[in-house]
Symmetry: C2
Subunit: 362 residues, 2 copies
């Protein structure tokens, strides 16, 4: 059996979850759906499979204290701090340096900190399979989600239509990736759904650390060279300074765009475990329990003549009268009222607050 | 010239203004439209006409401290406390006892504490005329507002179509009342508006104190007898106890229903001074200034893709996305989101809170 490490990416700001998500307490550090914060649930979901001392968290300076507090079972040294967010490729590369020094053949499971999965047993089955294939094949593995609707908020993965002759893992539900597709418009999303060979791109990756570092060296040589500068200083007192200066030179790029789309051979494992990236308040409404009027309520609320509305009331009382298809989120210092279907525009509010330097609300 | 006393009725709870209006700080003690609280504006509006030492306020125990604080120019002895709210007839009768002891021929101007008037000069002209007619004629006088729309939220007054032969004040714009009408439905309200002989019932009354006490004695003899019990104790140490026990026996009845509709001859003076009883959040929206998108904002707010919406944000930030025709009211501990046109139903929320004994929100 290989050594297995998890790398949980937890540096996001979660602007689309304003006013709950703030710079100091972003989405992954909140209880958005059900009990436990999203990052706690992410860790708990894999702790049967991966020893907490092998779980690394990549976050930023502002969030580190809360991360450490919420994940008391994880050694504080496992929390890696990026000076700035530079998208997923540098984040994964930085964590890869740490894992590679321990064991170059270790398998890395890369997980976003802010996803939910309803069937955790099935999720762990997929991970176990992925770890085995990643270790044995030395290939890049990603997890594709069986699509259930023409979703325009996700990227897609098209699989190769094959009979298994050239794919030794075909019988286990492991497919080869034909192409990655960006978030489609609705018409395209409908075609994807009908075609049957498109999966949702979950953003979950499994690979041996030598595999991914090698692929980064091939496809993102500039990044790889910067990472090497950091590598030499790990465990050294100069480390903090070198990470700081190196990150200024690193450009932001996603692992999808920078590596996955360019790599020669990528496997995708089909998962069907009730996955959601919980990307917006609309998505929270979609996956939440509702009452007979289609309302989903967290906290104290009185809804009169109200339908299909999501209410989060914090420690306040929220009352609604004669409305439908709304999202109402109340926090200590701010209130959001948003038409359902338009919650992607919540980021406009955060942009406005940044422009106006209303930092107390960011 | 007669002695003139004002009686300002300020005991209401303002349930339709929840969550701003609370038992301790009801509508009349708040800045709902523009600057100054409603009761402060009510006093200031008449202080050119009536000496503050002649202005009486009728309120309740809970509100008395705030009333006294807000109206520092009014002697504290002028604040009359009702043990319970019993509608307007007992309130007016109780105040009448105090005025009658000073001067039975004094003119009483009875004003709700929570109305607004845009043209205060015209309002005072109407009051001056009313005071003179009330003193000279010894009749009951009310003020009717020239209607500008088929409003279903007000009661109406129909005037007698006459040529002035039997009405010595006809030339001064003083009419005789034919009948009082309850709040109509929309079809009836449209007929009232077209007919030209209906005015809005403002709830403002002017009469000599001997006139109104006499009318109460005739039409509400039970109330009058209870009031006499109180009368004997004014200035006495037993007063508080007697008011307390007497009020338990008094049934709630409005002066409109109990006296005005039954009295033989009532005059109405037409007023056209931009009056509103500010009876709901919808009415606040109607009379407030709006921006180019039809939004009316008080406090900190960012409205994105939002039209025809009223926002009061208290000391919070309110953000809206993709909504229209909404009322959004945020206070320290509660948030209201209400469809425009349905703000009459805000009282349902208060009823709910009472049933659930959530007294902290009342």
């Amino acid at each position: 059996m290989p050594n297995v490490y998890a790398v949980i990416m937890a540096g996001g700001v979660g602007t689309r979850f304003w006013p709950r998500s703030r710079e100091k307490t972003p989405k992954q550090l909140l209880e958005i759906v059900g009990e436990g914060t999203m990052i706690q649930n992410t860790v708990n979901r894999i702790s049967d499979l991966i020893d907490p001392k092998n779980i690394l968290i990549v976050t930023n300076k502002i969030q580190k204290p809360s991360v450490a507090k919420q994940l008391s079972n994880i050694p504080e040294d496992n929390i890696i701090v990026e000076p700035q967010g530079r998208n997923t490729a540098p984040c994964i590369g930085l964590a890869g340096l740490f894992v590679r020094r321990i064991d170059p053949e270790a398998v890395m499971v890369v997980l976003p900190a802010d996803h939910i999965m309803h069937n955790e047993e099935e999720f762990r089955r997929v991970l176990r399979l992925a770890i085995w294939v990643a270790y044995e094949s030395g290939k890049l593995i990603t997890v594709g989600i069986h699509p259930t609707r023409p979703e325009t908020g996700y990227g897609y993965i098209q699989v190769i239509d094959e009979d298994g002759k050239t794919n030794p893992y075909f019988d286990r539900g492991v497919y080869r990736v034909k192409t990655f597709a960006e978030k489609p418009n609705l018409a395209t999303a409908k075609q994807f759904l009908q075609s049957g060979d498109f999966l949702w791109n979950s953003g979950i990756f499994i690979w041996r650390v030598d595999t991914i570092m090698n692929e980064i060296q091939i496809h993102l040589p500039d990044l790889y060279n910067e990472l090497l500068k950091i590598d030499g200083s790990i465990g050294d007192e100069k480390y903090d300074n070198i990470v700081e200066t190196t990150y200024r030179m690193i450009r932001g790029i996603s692992i999808d765009y920078g590596v996955m789309e360019k790599a020669k051979e990528v496997y995708v494992i089909k998962g069907n475990f009730g996955w959601s990236d919980v990307g917006s308040w609309d998505e929270v409404y979609r996956i939440s329990g509702k009452d007979d009027n289609g309302n989903s309520i967290t906290g104290q609320a009185f809804l009169h003549d109200t339908k299909n509305t999501l209410v989060y009331s914090g420690d306040k009382l929220v009352a609604t009268v004669g409305v439908e298809d709304l999202i109402v989120i109340a926090t200590d210092d701010a209130v959001l009222v948003c038409k359902k279907g338009q919650s992607q525009d919540v980021k406009e509010i955060v942009d406005y607050l940044r422009r106006k330097q209303k930092v107390e609300y960011l």
